[in-house]
């Protein structure tokens, strides 16, 4: 303590605490406070009320933060053409950031609904995460109907990190945000209630690879600091502009930072964690990662590349081109061979990251606006799709093998129709939000001279359309007329479908408990609880409405992006 003060007084003028405008940080502070409170609730509230407390608290916090973000966006304090730097310039509040934060909070809210769902298979989270899978202790926990409610504070802290990540205006703050968002996610991945070994494996994989990529990121920061003498994004931009670029340190720094960020968004060749982690993690957490984390990571990436390295676009654009092309092609081609629905959605998420990268490479306001719009619409469809994955189950939990989805359309037409809608959205079929989003990014890329990118993008769209169409075929056109492939259940399925048609209802119905004792596990569609229903409805509505009348949201994204990030 003494030495520190002495050293401080010798080296520099007395430490001036930065003037912090807490009002502008309020959304993040609300989420942070709620997270801390949630930890206290976990410690002191009795087990019976804990969960309801946590759910209410986290939904309230995220909702309030969303409201505050809207207030900020509308407040006259925010200049029309720029933004405000807060906390000594480490955090930026500008229009693209507010758009991203609003999207993050909205998507988090929807994800939280899915996370809180308990009607489907007793929830998705482990009863006793610390118990060895298959042990007596675990069995006791399940019998007692327990569930880890630590999930909620963890999610809140992750949301905090995700809010800070795209807002961070210097590389060190950004690194801290990265860690704050990643650590809870590593834990959450390992908390699946079923297939726990797979889940724990996913968590370890994600942690090891994530730590590795964080190290790259940190090393990149060191290089950049060595070059520019500052970690502030604007200072880096100034240094790069003054020197004309090209220095080895700077280029190395850009490359290393890019590795760290590309890992988070799952671009090829840093995508290998995605299928494993998406498959192993509890599905609500997968939905959370696939939507909210992607938004946040892309937000940070956009900021770094537009603000700090904007002047160096000619140097890094070839790299982003190569990565984008690889991401689209590899993701699409590998996805074709997948037979697991969650892995397939993971690869689809890889491909989509590639599409957004084409707009990033445009380095224009148009590209930024297109990316913002894309991130928003993709997030909603993704959460909806994963919500449906939680509903198709067999005795061992979720039935994720594609062949188990056979003939789903006849058992639950509404469910199959919603999933088909999400898939059509991912495939970018007109009149869905995915099409408008793809149109926006490709248009931005084309206007910026990225014709080859767009051609590759469109061709990979065709490939992805193939595997989306294949799922639709499996759900709609396969089934009762292939009794050999689905022993035993064919007749029962047809029977129930007929019963349903006779009843005239198109609602999702629980199949009557099968009396057949087959060796093959029976796949059934669980009746979704109110929360899952809401999640699916929100996702489907967003996919459809933003496909038909995208103008309002498109306007928001374009206006937000008009003046780029504040420097």
């Amino acid at each position: 303590m003494n030495t520190l003060t002495v050293a401080g007084s010798l080296a520099a003028p007395p430490f001036q605490p930065p003037d912090i405008d807490y009002g502008l940080l309020l959304p993040m502070l609300v989420v942070f406070t709620a997270g801390v409170l949630a930890v206290l609730v976990e410690a002191f509230a009795p087990r019976e009320v804990r969960r309801s407390f946590q759910v209410g608290l986290s939904l309230l916090a995220v909702g309030a933060a969303f409201g505050l973000t809207l207030v900020q966006a509308a407040s006259p304090q925010l200049p029309e053409t720029g933004g405000i730097l807060v906390a000594g310039g480490t955090v930026a509040v500008d229009r693209p950031t507010l758009f991203l934060q609003a999207v993050i909070l909205l998507l988090s809210f929807v994800s939280l609904l899915l996370i809180a769902e308990r009607r489907v298979g007793d929830g998705s989270f482990a009863a006793e995460a610390a118990a060895v899978p298959g042990s007596e202790e675990e069995r006791q926990g399940i019998l007692a109907g327990r569930e880890h409610s630590e999930v909620y504070p963890l999610v809140l802290f992750a949301v905090l990190g995700m809010l800070l990540f795209p807002a961070a205006n210097d590389l060190l703050t950004m690194f801290i945000a990265l860690e704050v968002l990643s650590m809870p996610l590593y834990l959450l991945c390992g908390l699946a209630r079923r297939r726990r070994l797979l889940s724990q494996e996913a968590a370890v994989k994600y942690f090891l690879l994530g730590a590795f990529s964080s190290a790259f990121f940190l090393f990149g920061i060191a290089m950049i600091y060595g070059y520019a003498g500052s970690v502030r994004l604007s200072a880096i931009a100034d240094a790069a502009a003054a020197a004309g670029g090209g220095e080895v340190l700077l280029l190395l720094g850009i490359a290393l930072i890019a590795v760290g960020l590309l890992f988070k968004i799952g671009a090829v060749p840093f995508h290998n964690w995605k299928p494993d982690v998406y498959q192993g993690a509890p599905t609500p957490i997968t939905a959370f990662m696939a939507s909210v984390t992607l938004v946040s990571a892309f937000g940070a990436m956009l900021r770094v590349f537009y603000v700090a390295f904007g002047a160096m676009a000619w140097d890094w654009r070839p790299m982003i081109w190569v990565v984008a092309i690889l991401t689209m092609v590899v993701g699409a081609v590998v996805a074709v061979t997948q037979t697991n629905v969650k892995r397939l959605l993971a690869y689809s998420s890889v491909v989509h990251a590639g599409f957004i990268l084409t707009a990033l490479a445009a380095t224009s306001a148009q590209g930024l606006g297109a990316s913002l719009f894309y991130l928003a619409v993709y997030g909603f469809s993704t959460i909806g799709a994963f919500a449906i994955v939680t509903l198709v189950r067999d005795s061992q939990g979720e039935a994720v093998r594609l062949d188990q989805w056979r003939g789903l359309a006849r058992r639950s037409p509404l469910l199959a129709l919603s999933f088909a809608l999400f898939l059509l959205g991912f495939a970018g079929i007109p009149l869905t939000s995915g099409f408008i989003a793809k149109f926006a990014v490709f248009e931005a890329a084309l206007a910026a001279g990225g014709t080859p990118l767009v051609v590759v993008g469109v061709l990979s769209s065709a490939v992805t359309a193939f595997f989306y169409a294949r799922i639709i075929v499996v759900m709609f056109f396969t089934g009762a007329d292939e009794p050999a492939e689905e022993p035993g259940s064919g007749a029962a399925v047809a029977e129930s479908a007929h019963a349903q048609e006779a009843a005239g209802g198109v609602s999702v119905r629980t199949r009557p408990a099968p009396a057949v004792t087959e060796a093959a596990p029976q796949v059934e569609v669980v009746k979704p609880g109110l929360l899952s229903q809401a999640v699916i409805a929100i996702g489907a509505a967003a996919t459809l409405v933003l496909g038909v009348v995208p103008q309002p949201v498109l306007d928001l994204a374009t206006q937000a992006a008009q003046h780029l990030f504040v420097r």
Binding site: A465, V473, E501, G504, T558
Partner: protein, 518 residues
């Protein structure tokens, strides 16, 4: 133009109908069919009322409506028709009620695991899209409908078809989607190019006005993007292979709409978009395309002769006929274009009738065989069936006196003035057409009645009502083609003007002048 938004009504009405049909209880299939029929007849009435108000001497696009849709990208909801589009919309509106009538018993619980009403709801959705695609005067709106049309057809084939329907449905989807995505690149590229010319828009008219100013190299690439999509849709050899599979596995009613109307979007698109938006590129690409068209004509005809499946046979004849249409389009003469435009309508009528009658034939066999070898001597017990089949078949081979003859003759004349050698070789297609049609007729309709088999029932009044109007129109328009020509000609002339706008001296000046002066 007009206070009443005719086109929007014609687009929205079937959509409402489809929602109504879809909302009906599954048990009342009969009621669902009646409602579908009522809505489609209503649409036909609306379209017919609109057509009566169309003035051939008036502005090129009539009944125009323009509303901003996504201003951020310069996208509008813009509809309007010229003569060609009007005829194709009429054709669509006419074919739908006939298909509903003809397909009354085509789909039931035994043929599909989905409820019957779904099929009819899909038909109405498709009708709305067919009208919208021909009416769209905004390139983006056209593209959106062009792609969205795939979805109802995909489900109609995949969910209600026969045989290898899943394979056929996905093949159809992938082919079309691939073409559509190439077109998407071109659509975006066109928008960017228009932005460089000053006005970033998707509206057809300003785009056509600035067509000559787009950088030629860019225009050629954009042309190719559009053309490949349309060639797949049309379908032109060598990207035709999805059509026989789709037609084979589709219900005859689906096949009528698929081949009779949907494929016309391809040739219509070539006329409206390829030629007028990229005139220079169209002339640049004319030769290779004419050769491809020629190959399509001959290849389709030869392969049709060898078919054993009636649905496939009719599909291949269409490949041949589409070759004629493309030939007419890329001949760049008045007769060629007018012939091509008329051909689209006439082909819809004749092929529609053929598919419907083949469908009737199939329904008379309990196992619904599509194989030619399973039928013989049908005409002995079912003279009406055989008679209408013969008329439709003769129309398909362009017998003088029936309407396809007029269009085929015009196409030949128009092509001959510019590419005499090509026209002469293409004429072989007519001889082959006689072979495939007459041989098909001979094998199925004539000959002894199979022993021990139950006699074929003749056409029921409902079936006659479905196919009768088509046969009547084939005869009527064959004898009096002038009204149709009057409607089509202004559009044709302005297209030619647009194509020739940058090239006042055509390759064969004498022939072209002769063409336009007539």
């Amino acid at each position: 133009m007009s206070a009443i938004p005719w086109l929007t009504i014609a687009i929205v009405l079937p959509l409402i109908g489809s929602v109504v049909v879809a909302a009906m209880p599954s048990s009342g299939a009969e009621r669902a069919k009646q409602v579908t029929l009522a809505f489609s007849v209503l649409v036909l009435a609306v379209v017919a009322a609109m057509a009566l108000q169309f003035s051939p001497g008036g502005p090129r696009f009539q009944f125009e409506e323009v509303y901003p849709w996504i201003p951020a990208f310069g996208i509008s909801y813009a509809v309007g028709v010229d003569g060609i589009a009007l005829l194709l919309i009429l054709l669509s509106a006419l074919l739908v009620p006939l298909v509903v009538l003809a397909g009354w018993n085509e789909v039931d619980a035994s043929t599909s695991k989905y409820s019957t009403k779904t099929y009819f709801a899909l038909i109405l959705v498709l009708e709305a899209m067919m009208i919208a695609v021909f009416a769209a005067t905004d390139v983006f709106l056209f593209y959106v409908v062009f792609e969205a049309m795939l979805i109802p057809v995909y489900f109609m084939i995949g969910g209600f078809g026969t045989g290898r329907r899943r394979y056929a449905a996905i093949k159809f989807l992938l082919y079309s989607l691939f073409g559509g995505l190439l077109m998407l690149v071109a659509v975006i590229g066109l928008y960017v190019a228009a932005g460089q010319q000053g006005e970033a828009t998707f509206l057809w008219e300003p785009l056509a006005a600035m067509a000559a100013d787009i950088d030629p190299a860019t225009a050629r690439w954009l042309f190719l993007g559009f053309f490949i999509a349309f060639a797949i849709k049309a379908p032109l050899w060598p990207v035709h292979t999805w059509l026989p599979s789709a037609a084979e596995s589709a219900r005859p009613g689906t096949a009528v709409l698929l081949v009779g109307v949907l494929d016309k979007v391809g040739t219509f698109g070539m006329l409206r978009f390829c030629l007028e938006l990229f005139p220079e590129a169209s002339r640049w690409a004319a030769w290779p395309i004419v050769i491809l068209a020629l190959i399509s004509i001959l290849y389709g005809a030869v392969v049709a002769i060898g078919q054993t499946d009636m649905m496939r046979l009719v599909a291949y004849t269409s490949v041949s006929h589409f070759g004629f249409i493309v030939l007419g389009v890329f001949a760049f003469t008045t007769q060629g274009h007018a012939g091509a435009a008329l051909y689209m309508v006439n082909h819809g009528l004749s092929t529609g009738a053929l598919f419907l009658i083949v469908g009737f034939l199939m329904l008379r066999r309990t196992e619904r065989s599509q194989l030619i070898g399973d039928y013989t001597g049908v005409g002995r017990t079912a003279p009406l069936l055989a008679g209408t089949f013969l008329v439709a078949g003769l129309a398909s081979l362009s017998l003088p006196g029936l309407s396809p003859f007029v269009s085929e003759f015009l196409v030949f004349m128009g092509t001959f003035t510019r590419y005499p050698v090509i026209a002469i070789i293409a004429a072989l297609g007519v001889i082959l057409a006689a072979l495939y049609i007459l041989w098909l007729y001979q094998r199925t309709m004539t000959g002894p009645r199979p022993e021990g088999a139950a006699p074929f029932a003749d056409l029921s009044p409902r079936e006659l009502l479905a196919v009768g109007p088509l046969v009547a129109l084939l005869v009527l328009l064959g004898l009096f083609p002038q009204p149709m020509l009057d409607v089509v000609n202004p559009a044709v002339e302005s297209t030619l003007e647009q194509v020739g706008a940058t090239d006042p001296a055509p390759e064969v000046p004498a022939a072209a002048e002769e063409g336009t002066s007539e």
